[in-house]
Amino acid sequence: MPSAGWIAPARASNMYFLKRLAFTIPLLLVVSLLAFVMVRIPKGGPFDRERKPASPEIERNLLAKYHLDEPVWKQYLRYIGAVWERDDQGQWHHAPAGFNTSLRYRNHSVLDIIKTGLPVSLTIGLLAFCLAMAVGIPLGFLAAAKRGHWQDHAGNFLALLSVCVPGLVIAPLLALVLGIKWRLLPVALWESPANAVMPVVALGLFYSGRVARLMREGMLTVLQAEFITAARAKGLGDTQLLFRHGLRLAILPVVSYSGPMLADLLTGSFIVESVFQLPGLGVFLVNSLYNSDYTMTVGLVLLYAIVLLGLNLIVDFIHAWLDPRIKYE
């Protein structure tokens, strides 16, 4: 499919992307260290409760069991599995990496929890992503194509409206109207495909407004591009013109935004997950901060970083692919 003229820039791009990939590992380590230290700053550990253990020894045992009494640097090394220690017989052995034990859900591991939460967040997030794209791109396109007319004003207004109403308000209202008043959809929980409809709509609407605005901006920029002016001089109408030639350039801001948008959809959907009682990662992240569940927080922050960096890489790749004019050095 790529013609000969496209291969030369591609070679330069490959180096760039490989360099980016190489940077990711140290970046992730820094992120994990930063998160690790930050969660330990506030007072209050995972085992502080209303009901204190019957003796200080019990408390000490608990902390010792999870190595929370060690200095922070040692705890971090243990976390990434870089600690060797001597046991009672004097034998050296490798201490198992500590990143997998949840401090709050002591019968579950962090990976278990991610395994249960990720499909839920992924489903809702991806579907919301599709909805945002499916609603936002045509809306933005229409607004830009009919610039100055009522479609533009209406489209712009609708997009702005969806960005200004917080999810905090939309989610319960949706549940009230569709779930309770009209009994069309189940009001909460994660039991069937029907349960996904309202959360997806609540999340997707917000981002569709963003996407629409980005699309509109992109289109307006493209409208001023030279070859478009040339084509217009040849007598082509705006809409079809934009559609055939301008779309792939105009969509670039949307493509760039997809990375952060998807990452936010995956872990930032706390409000929607709370209202609809979905076992997703947003609730786990916020709860882990409340419960001082250090390992879970760092694990989820790392997941977020990995997803974000990975998506950014993919998005940049697509960006370059769509717009061969861009050269990365």
Partner: protein, 312 residues
């Protein structure tokens, strides 16, 4: 400015770019309407509490009253008048939004300008730091900041003899915190602008004349970047106000008994249940906030269109 209609044949003297931009802005009806709306709103929220005989903290037995003659917008769970609370809440939200945006502006502009101008290793290091911070969900910063810094800040304020240290501590933390989670985008944009500006002729000339980097930054680069920055400022304020509502939902926002839009909306959203809805607790705060955010966005768009600013 002469009126070009008077003499169709004569050429009107060219208005300066600033004046042209301003005129473009004035032609944007939505933006102008928004400005008048905001000005009216600000006037109302500042003046109404002075004339009303309800205090925002006054508890009464008139709980959950519907909007009526006595309480125009109704009352809440403690019998407090909603309209007065909304006014004070709006004041707090505006202050938090603006100062938070200014904080994010200051940090972002300085960071981006220094990184962009210095180039090379410094640029690389600074932007890598931005990358690291960007890869983390903002909620963790918000929570850690609130939990960790607030006690010390409050202690420091009390020792300095500041009145109402507790409320001030939380407010200050909100400004700083909200600004601190929003500066990353600003830094990237500013850096992009500075990178392109750096190679321009007037900067070279300045350097040839022996100006120090600080001088060049302060006198040439930053003023040129300010256009983009102001526009994004107008668009950051709504984002900050929305984020504050999220924090209030989590219990990290404004301390009771103070109110902000965020906390009033969080309270109102908690009233949506299948049995009985005290709709005024949600409709009025949410409606007002949405209108204000719309206005701010229209103004930001208007500024951007008028000044022909392209995003980074």
């Amino acid at each position: 400015m002469s009126d070009a209609r008077e003499n169709k044949l004569s050429v009107a003297p060219a208005a300066s770019p600033a004046q042209q931009s301003w005129r473009r802005f004035q032609r944007n009806r939505a933006a102008v309407l928004s400005v008048s709306f905001l000005l009216t709103l600000v006037a109302f929220i500042l003046l109404y509490p002075l004339f009303s005989h309800f205090k925002p903290d006054a508890l009464s037995d008139a709980q959950f009253q519907k909007p009526g003659a006595q309480h125009w917008l109704g009352t809440d769970a403690h019998g407090r008048d909603l309209l007065v609370r909304l006014c004070y809440g709006a004041q707090i939200s505006f202050v938090v939004g603006i100062i938070g945006a200014v904080v994010s502006l200051v940090i972002g502009v300085l960071w981006g300008a220094i990184a962009g101008y210095a180039g090379g290793r410094t640029d690389g290091a600074m932007m890598r730091m931005v990358d690291v911070l960007y890869s983390m969900p903002t909620i963790i910063f918000a929570m850690v900041l609130m939990s960790a810094v607030e006690p010390s800040l409050r202690g420091w304020l009390t020792r300095s003899g500041v009145h109402e240290a507790s409320k001030m501590a939380r407010l200050i933390l909100l400004f700083v915190g909200l600004g601190a989670v929003s500066w990353l985008t600003m830094a990237r944009i500013v850096r992009g602008q500075v990178l392109s500006l750096r190679t321009r002729a007037f900067v070279d000339a300045s350097r040839a004349l022996g100006a120090t980097p600080t001088h060049i930054l302060a006198r040439h680069i930053i003023p040129n970047v300010l256009g983009v920055v102001i526009v994004y400022l107008a668009l950051t304020v709504p984002g900050i106000i929305l984020y504050e509502s999220f924090l209030s939902f989590l219990g990290l926002g404004i301390q009771p008994p103070m109110a902000s839009w965020g906390s009033l909306i969080a309270e109102g959203a908690g009233q949506i249940n299948p049995i009985r809805i005290y709709w005024w607790l949600l409709v009025f705060p949410a409606g007002l906030m949405v209108l204000t955010l719309l206005a701010l966005n229209f103004i930001g768009d208007g500024l951007r269109d008028a000044w022909d600013v392209k995003g980074g």
